[in-house]
Symmetry: none
Subunit: 448 residues, 2 copies
């Protein structure tokens, strides 16, 4: 076999582990995949170990040049767990038996995150084969990213000395498009809450009590309708107080992504877009905070009618945050607003859930310019795009908090890769491209 055939065979072996972290029956699979990674890192010339946790194990793998000279050290984070995938979800083949289709690998995890972390492993392995990487390296590959990374912070804290580094690298974000190298320089944070209203102590007949007893669903619709004003701005008092003003170059960078509102609308399959005035769709996603109702429930939901005036109604809310909003403070503001607006006719219970800080790493400072140079090199001199991601990668804030370093987000994920959906894909050529990017990045970092 040629080297590229061996590489592909290894990647396919990695994809064949059905490492669905949400499935409690997968414990042994998670351990098997971690062992496979430990062995693979070893073959590549790194010193690997498996760190057990209360959940899925974390794989650490380090390579150091040794000697007395002061060298940079880079932490490379990835995850070997994947989202659930069932044939019934619309897959056109076994999600855990990788297939090639027009140069694309179709399999669960092909992009998110096995393909992307494997590209970094290949880059470091190549460098070691050729005499050594440009920096010292420590890989952290966890198995619980898709279920909240509950045990990772503990591992980072316990192994803080081993993980001491100058900067972290993660490839788990979108590119602006195929062959368009992209540096993601910010992520939105999140504040999640659940609100539950209780009106009558039990479900009532809506004919017998309707008009006299207040319906908690009606109150809930009023409270939630009041989360936005008529211009689609979030109406919670104080919500925008700490929102960072974006720089002129950022709006230009957003424009240069050339993701039109029509393109976002096409991807979403939405009849029409709308949102906060004064911003394009891509700007609203990256630069502006939002309020979303992720779920609402109350009363009868089965087939046909049921004339009930229900006791309870509830909703799940998330607020996507931008610097310098604090998820705990936003949760408090929302709770205060909902409680203030809630009439005495119902009891209200607001339960804050998980939160994550927004992240921002100025690409003009620190290791940002090095990352830009490396991306351009890896993609044959192409212009680098700068992206603000709408989603949240909580681990980025954890790395900053525990290890005190910034993270360079150099994703290899294509916008239409169907991560989390059926028939997830990854261009097979991006393994080599990612390995090249890894080597350029370590080299550039070593020279800062």
């Amino acid at each position: 076999m040629s080297l590229s055939e061996i590489v592909k065979a290894d990647y396919f072996d990695f994809l064949r582990f059905p490492t669905v972290s949400a499935d409690p029956a997968r414990d042994q699979t998670m351990r098997d995949c971690a062992s496979w990674l430990e062995k693979k890192f070893g073959e590549m010339g790194l010193e690997a170990e498996i760190v057990a946790t209360a959940g899925a194990p974390v794989v650490l793998a380090k390579w150091s040049k040794g000697g007395s000279g002061k060298r940079r050290k880079v932490l490379i984070y990835g995850h070997y767990d994947v989202q659930p995938a069932e044939m019934g979800d619309g897959w056109t083949g076994d999600p855990f038996e990788p297939r090639m289709l027009d140069g694309m690998v179709v399999a669960r995890g092909s992009t998110d995150n096995k393909g992307q972390i494997f590209a970094h492993m290949l880059g470091v392995a190549e460098a070691i084969r050729e005499g050594g990487a440009a920096t010292d390296v420590i890989f952290v590959v966890e198995g619980e990213e898709e279920v909240g990374s509950d045990n990772l912070e503990g591992v980072l804290r316990a192994r803080k000395d081993d993980l001491k580094c100058d900067v972290a690298i993660i490839s788990d974000t979108n590119m602006a498009g195929p062959n368009r190298p992209t540096l993601t320089y910010g992520l939105r944070g999140i504040a999640a809450l659940e609100v539950e209203l209780t009106g009558p102590s039990h479900d009532l007949h809506s004919g017998v009590y309707g008009g006299a007893v207040v319906n908690p669903i009606t109150v809930l619709t009023r409270l939630l309708a009041g989360l936005h004003d008529e211009k689609n701005r979030v109406a919670v008092p104080g919500f925008y107080k700490k929102v960072r003003k974006v720089a002129a170059w950022e709006r230009l960078a957003a424009k240069n992504l050339k993701v039109s509102d029509a393109e976002v609308q096409r991807q979403a399959g939405s009849p029409a877009l709308a949102g906060e005035p004064g911003f394009s769709a891509i700007e609203r996603i990256g630069m502006r905070p939002t309020a979303e109702i992720n779920g609402i429930t109350g009363g009868y939901q089965g087939p046909g009618p049921k004339t009930v005036l229900p006791s309870k109604a509830s909703a799940k809310l998330t607020f996507r945050l931008v610097p310098h909003q604090d998820p705990r403070e936003i949760a408090r503001l929302v709770e205060r607003d909902l409680k203030k607006r809630c009439p005495k006719t119902v009891k209200i219970k607001v339960t804050p859930q998980h939160g994550g800080f927004p992240y921002f790493c100025d690409p003009k400072k620190g290791f940002g310019p090095a990352a830009s140079r490396a991306l351009s090199q890896a993609w044959d001199g192409k212009k680098v795009h700068y992206l603000l991601e709408g989603g949240t990668i909580p681990i980025v804030s954890v790395i900053k908090k525990v290890l005190g370093v910034e993270t360079l987000l150099v994703g290899l994920s294509l916008p239409d890769c169907r991560a989390h959906g059926p028939d997830e894909t990854f261009p097979i050529g991006y393994l080599e491209r990612g390995a090249k990017m890894n080597r350029a990045l370590l080299r550039e970092i070593s020279e800062v």
Copy 2:
């Protein structure tokens, strides 16, 4: 067994049929219960038959004195189907295994409507045992009342000659309170609709698209919040145009019910009441139309958070109507209002469901005074109360339309019986009381 023990055993057998008409899997159960009724009527001395329909069968049972003298004939209507009932709804025991609790029978259908129709059956059976009822009698017991009585009108039309009568009797309404005989002289009508909004063509990641793509739940909360104005009046344009002005004696009768706002609040277990200004709670329920959200659903409803921006959100609505509102016209007004207010960012689908006209029968005319006398006799000379019921019995309007007769609404249902809710109850003593009322009523009707 004593007669009362046999009666109770029969009643419990009737309650054990889980005749949930909303559940399509209950076809056989409906037929079994209809057969049980046919047999029971036969044992009581009536001539019973089962009339098949496209849905649940209708049971007819007649008794006639025969001979040549001109006699009054009374139609007694009831239903053997019940509302859904699941342990998860808050029942403290199997809803279809009746239990006794302080003289009350706890079971789904105990009040609505099995207990009440069974009391009439007992009254007629007693009279037959003692030589004959005071009038000729025809029972009509259907199995689709809780889902709109779709097939009953056809049966009434097809069997119009057999069903020819002077007046109808229904016990399916509330009493003013325990041991307070009550004649219900009006019912609210109903217009039911389902509204479904579709935003994106598939569920989206709320981080990746939130802020740019409009969330259909958010739109739904705005549309539904707009169903009422700030004073709790229904805000649909034209909604109140045909609402009847109530007479002074009616407001006095409502006051004489002595059902305070505090009592309604206590029954509902509601933190506080609110409603249309200028009316007491009992007046709002009887005399005024309303808009209720019976159910709402959208997005993720399981445990914990899920950051989804859902494709769909929907709600079930009912409007309770008073004379002279027309359910078809109200459904049209609501559909027009929702569609007019719905933004282009989502697709809206409004599906009108069942409708029923409001009903009004002056208790000072026709058989009204006879009903008043009979109620007073059955309850040991107590004063009779006059009630406008908030619920809907569409069949009352159908009986008037098809058979041309009024209906006397002589309910045995207590205000806190929890019909449609968990732990529905009926006082076991009301079987005997209802049988007595039935006999007094047939006697009084025979003498008008």
